[in-house]
């Protein structure tokens, strides 16, 4: 299973009374896909992720925006509840098997965690959070980009596809393009974080991933690399 990356946001004075109003603002900042620019699903999850969701709304044909999603969510306003919204955003991805670039909609999951949900998960995972998708959209594969800041810079599986990929990237122009496209993904992410900070009274925010010891430092290093 490929590692995922996350955005976590904590706001000042987050409470039962403010959380859905702020969630509406968080949803407004999300850089949705140009071709799929509405929310596709709302899941209301009480207690923790092992419970059957309280409600699931299939929003795909309805072109729902933040106001509509919030209007539905408020029917289940509880401090022990999380609200998960599915959407898409456009990212550059390198298809390792075909050695081709694609700029296409990828899954984006936006969450609001009530303070009592899952024994206070919000304290560590954010009042608001986003599952950004695969970590490699922002770090690249195999520690090729800014290897000095990578957790496992030369970790190789020895898989034939990886061998082909490394050979492809051994060409300077291919690696340069890999860097440029990955940097575009990072810039989009950083612009979103800035938009969140403008839209909400952010106490702190954090970019985190499952595979990097310091995801933010890695992204900074890739952006700084020339």
């Amino acid at each position: 299973m490929a590692n995922h990356a996350y955005l976590r946001v904590w706001t000042r004075d987050f409470s039962l009374e403010t959380m859905l109003a702020e969630f509406a603002r968080f949803l407004t900042t999300a850089p949705l896909s140009a071709t799929q620019n509405s929310f596709t699903e709302l899941i209301v999850q009480a207690v923790d992720a092992t419970e059957i969701p309280v409600a699931e709304w299939d929003l795909r044909p309805l072109k729902m925006g933040p106001a509509e999603v919030t209007a539905m969510a408020v029917q289940h306003l509880n401090a022990d509840t999380a609200y998960l919204v599915n959407a898409k955003w456009d990212l550059w991805g390198f298809d390792i098997e075909n050695l081709k670039w694609q700029h296409k909609p990828e899954p984006l999951v936006l969450a609001c965690h009530g303070l009592q949900y899952d024994d206070g998960l919000a304290a560590n995972s954010g009042h608001f959070a986003a599952d950004l998708g695969f970590e490699h959209f922002f770090t690249g594969h195999g520690g090729l980009l800014a290897p000095g800041a990578a957790s496992n810079p030369f970790n190789s599986s020895g898989h034939p596809i990886e061998h082909t990929f490394r050979q492809w990237m051994a060409t300077r122009s291919n690696l340069k393009e890999y860097h440029a496209k990955t940097r575009e993904n990072i810039q989009q992410l950083f612009q979103w974080v800035e938009a969140v900070e403008r839209a909400l009274p952010v106490e702190r925010s954090e970019l985190w991933s499952e595979g990097e010891e310091n995801f933010e430092a890695r992204l900074d290093a890739i952006l700084a690399q020339r």
């Binding site: 702020e22 509406a24 309280v54 409600a55 299939d58 795909r60 209007a71 539905m72 408020v74 009274p201």
Partner: protein, 64 residues
């Protein structure tokens, strides 16, 4: 623990889904959130007003 809860899956075409969006309450709620989201820039950084407004919005939504 609320084990009594069961999943409600709302899909377009189902009566309960359509009812929600044709009730006045849903429309009022949606308009209330839209109004709050379009509040002026000053409100965003006047924290006292910001929080008061957010709380008021929630009360208004629950009253719909």
């Amino acid at each position: 623990m609320r084990f009594w809860r069961s999943a409600d899956a709302f899909k377009p075409g189902q009566a309960r889904f359509e009812e929600f969006f044709h009730e006045g309450a849903a429309t009022d709620r949606i308009e209330a959130v839209r109004g709050w989201l379009s509040a002026d820039e000053k409100l965003r950084w006047d924290l006292q007003r910001y929080f008061a407004d957010g709380k008021n919005l929630t009360k208004r939504l629950l009253a719909c």
